[in-house]
């Protein structure tokens, strides 16, 4: 493009002004990033039946309505497939966590479409020896909507003759990015017997 008629002094001043605009935009975006980080790191404390967890502040927490033995369920209000639930299960008489794992897998297989266990292995949280199960199933969201694949992760933790099951569920495509937050929630777990 023709750039004649734009004197050097004016050009330098205008260049400085343009640099200032870019700096200002950079500062604004940095402030936006800090705002985002603060909000996403904000948590609310959920305490019920002796189980305490720190879940994201913006999530909606419901107590014991969806499932028998459910302690609570925390749902991302902008994405209802993304949720974390806590359930209390009875410990088998032999004291093995894997019994609860087998029972839960059988139960899920009867109620969830195409339920499949992907991987399972022992897992430790805060020195508590537990068990982790990765699974997937197909969620049919009603007529007019395509079915979606939901992926989940169950963490079984034995506390005081009971098993606390903490589960994450999320759409398959976003499951990987939901894991770090879930592990942060899991690290905040504490159990107070008798409550």
């Amino acid at each position: 493009m023709n750039v004649t008629g734009f004197p050097l002094r004016k050009r330098a001043k205008s260049g400085l002004s343009a640099a200032l605009v870019l700096c200002l935009a950079g500062i604004a975006l940095l402030a936006g990033w800090i705002l985002k980080s603060n909000i996403l790191n904000e948590t609310q404390s959920v305490l019920r039946s002796g189980v305490s967890l720190q879940v994201p502040a913006s999530w909606k927490v419901q107590f014991g309505i969806a499932e028998e033995n459910q302690v609570f369920s925390a749902v991302d209000p902008l994405n209802l497939l993304h949720n974390i639930t806590a359930v209390k299960l009875p410990m088998a008489t032999d004291g093995l966590v894997t019994d609860a794992v087998v029972n839960q897998n059988l139960k899920r297989a009867t109620v969830l479409s195409s339920y499949q266990v992907l991987e399972q292995a022992p897992y430790v949280v805060k020195d508590v020896q537990g068990y982790a199960v990765y699974y997937a199933y197909v969620e049919n969201q009603g007529t007019g909507n395509l079915p979606v694949v939901v992926r989940g992760l169950d963490i079984y933790l034995p506390f005081d003759q009971q098993i606390v099951l903490i589960s994450l569920e999320e759409n398959e495509s976003r499951f990987g990015s939901a894991l770090p937050e879930f592990f942060r929630v899991l690290d905040s777990i504490s159990y107070t017997p008798g409550e």
Partner: protein, 293 residues
Amino acid sequence: MTVQASSHSLSSRKSLWKSNLITFGLLGLFLLLVFAVEALVHPIFNSTSLVITGAVMSLVPAFLWLVFFYRQDQLEPEPKSMVFEVFILGGLLAAAIGIPLIEDVFKLSSWLYSNLWIELLGSVLVIGFTQETLKWAAVRFSVYKSIEFDEPTDGIIYATAAGLGFATVLNISFIVNSGGANLGIAAIRIVLTALAQASFAGISGYFLACEKFEGKPIWWMPCGVALAALLNGVFFTLWGSLTRPTLTGSGAFINPWLGLAFAVLLSLAITVILSLMIQKNEKQSSPTPEVKP
């Protein structure tokens, strides 16, 4: 302002204001037409044809403005290719930086709606600054130094073109990502986005022109972009509040017309204010005519 700039009086650039007003009127007709077609013909679309229809509708505001601007801009015409280039550049910047930054990097939907104040602050800092800086950049780093950018209204003309390019890509992205939308709702959103993006860009364009022709201090342009970003953020927060679904006994109720009315009022206000300011600047800088004996 230089004599070169002021030598073109506002009357010679009525083309801009006229095209803006004609575009306002025609966009109203476009909305009426879409609603009439929907009410009378009840068109049935599959998801692909709905996306294509929506994408074509997204081009309407920019097409109308460009056509009427070219037709009106006869006395001191801007090179058509340059206006079109800035329009394309605005769209490219939206697609390459604006949308990925806001949706993928900042993931606004996961945190912005925590409460009204967060929404307002986040909208200004992230949406406002990203969009207004990119629209400003589309003009500043292309036509700004050209000899064709030779009068104050040129800033507004090129910035409006960049804003419409930006809005067109935002609208196409919305239609494609939502898998096609209800035609009437889509038409309202398309018109609203185009009006808002073009108006806010017009503010930066005015500041750019003043910077070039009046030798404003270096803080002038950052203030202009900040003002446009502030208005952008406030507008989209209020628009979101006005059009958020309200739950009634018979289900969720959305009133998109309120948002549209808000956008029309805002665009008209910005158009009138910019026109008055340009007029005032030109009056102040007009050389006193010599009186011959």
